[in-house]
Amino acid sequence: MSPDRRQFLGWGAAVAAGAALAPAFRLIELAQARSPEEAASALQRWGLLIDITKCADCDACVTACHEENGVTGHGRPRTDAQWIRKVSLRDKRTGYAQTLPLMCQHCEHPPCVDVCPTGASFRRDDGIVLVDKHTCIGCRYCVMACPSGARSFVHEAVSGQKPDVPRGQGTVEACTLCVHRVDRGETPACVEACNRDGGKAMVFGDLSDPSAEIYRRLRAEPSTQVRADLALNTGVRYQGL
C-alpha cells in the first residue's frame, strides 16, 4: 500500500466518523434547555399532540391551566375569560360522543396576527402565538378571526395576577402554551395535569426535533388539525378526531 493511498483512506475514515457523529452533536445541542439570556429561536417549533381516544371525561387540563395562569372568573360564563375549554362532539346518527380540550392552536399562519391593527398579536420565533398587551387596544378583531374561538377579552378589572402571567382589563388573551414554563424548560400546566390526573392524552414537544416523542409520533401515526382546510399549519394536533 503506497503512503498516498494510506493517507487517502485515513481522510476517508475521518470524514465517515465526522458524518456519523455530527447528528449526535446536533441532538445534544437541541436537547439543551435555552438559557434565560438566549432568544427563542426558529430552530424550534413548540406543539402539542392530543390523543382524544385517551381524553378522559375530566377537566384536569382546564383547572390546571386556569390555576397556573391565574385566570379567574366572575361567575359569568358568557364573558369570563377562557384559555382552554372542553368541547363535546356527538355523532348525530350513531350517538358516538367524544370530548376534547380546545385552546389556541398556535398556527404557523395565524389569522389573529394578520388582522391585528397594532401588531400586538404576534408569533414568537419558536411558534408560540402571543398577545403583547402593552400594545393591544382591545379591538377584538383577533377574537373574531380565530377559527377555534380561542381568544377571550378581559371585560373587568383584574387583581391577584400571577407574577409570570400579567392580565388586565381591556386586553385580549389566550393560551400562551405556558410560555413562562416553556422558557424554564418545563411543559405546559395542562400537559402536566393530564399526565398526572387525567388520561395521559397530551404530549408536548418540539415539532422540528427528530428525537422528540411528538415528532416521532406525528411521523408514524395519523393525526388531524382543527380546520385543516384553512391551511394554517397548527402547532396543536389531534388524534382520533
Binding site: L130, Q161, P163, R167
Partner: protein, 127 residues
C-alpha cells in the same frame, strides 16, 4: 408698650413659621423611599431615578417578543426588592412606586396588568 409689641411680633413670627411648616408638610406628601432588601440596585441611584422607565420598556419588549428573560431589569426583580415588608406590595400609601409617582404626578400603568405583590407573598397567599 414697646416691649409688648416686640413680644407680639416674635410670637406671631414663630406661629407663622409653624404654620408654613405644617402647610408644606400637609399639602404635598413627600415620597417615601424605603429600600426593603439588598445593598444596591441594578444601577446607580441617579441613573435609576432618571432611566428606570427606559430600562423596563426595553426589557419588556425583549422578554415578550424574543423570550429573553434576564432578571436584572425585569419588573419582577424590581418588585421583589422594593415591595413593602408590611403589605408585600409596591403600591399603596407608602408604596415604593406609588408614593413617588403620586408626588411627581405621573400615572403608572404597569400594575393594571402586572402584580404589584412580591413573589413569595403571591405563593403564600391563600387561594
Amino acid at each position: 408698650m414697646r416691649f409688648v409689641l416686640a413680644l407680639l411680633a416674635v410670637v406671631l413670627t414663630l406661629v407663622g413659621y409653624a404654620d408654613a411648616e405644617e402647610v408644606r408638610a400637609g399639602r404635598v406628601a413627600v415620597p417615601v423611599v424605603k429600600i426593603e432588601k439588598g445593598e444596591a440596585c441594578v444601577a446607580p441611584t441617579a441613573e435609576m431615578r432618571r432611566d428606570h422607565m427606559k430600562m423596563l420598556l426595553h426589557q419588556r419588549d425583549r422578554t415578550l417578543r424574543q423570550g429573553i428573560r434576564e432578571s436584572r431589569f425585569s419588573l419582577k426583580n424590581c418588585v421583589d426588592c422594593h415591595a413593602s415588608r408590611e403589605t408585600g406590595s409596591v403600591l399603596g400609601k407608602d408604596g415604593f412606586c406609588s408614593s413617588c409617582h403620586a408626588y411627581a404626578s405621573v400615572s403608572i400603568d404597569c400594575f393594571e396588568c402586572h402584580t404589584p405583590v412580591r413573589q413569595d407573598r403571591v405563593a403564600r397567599a391563600p387561594r
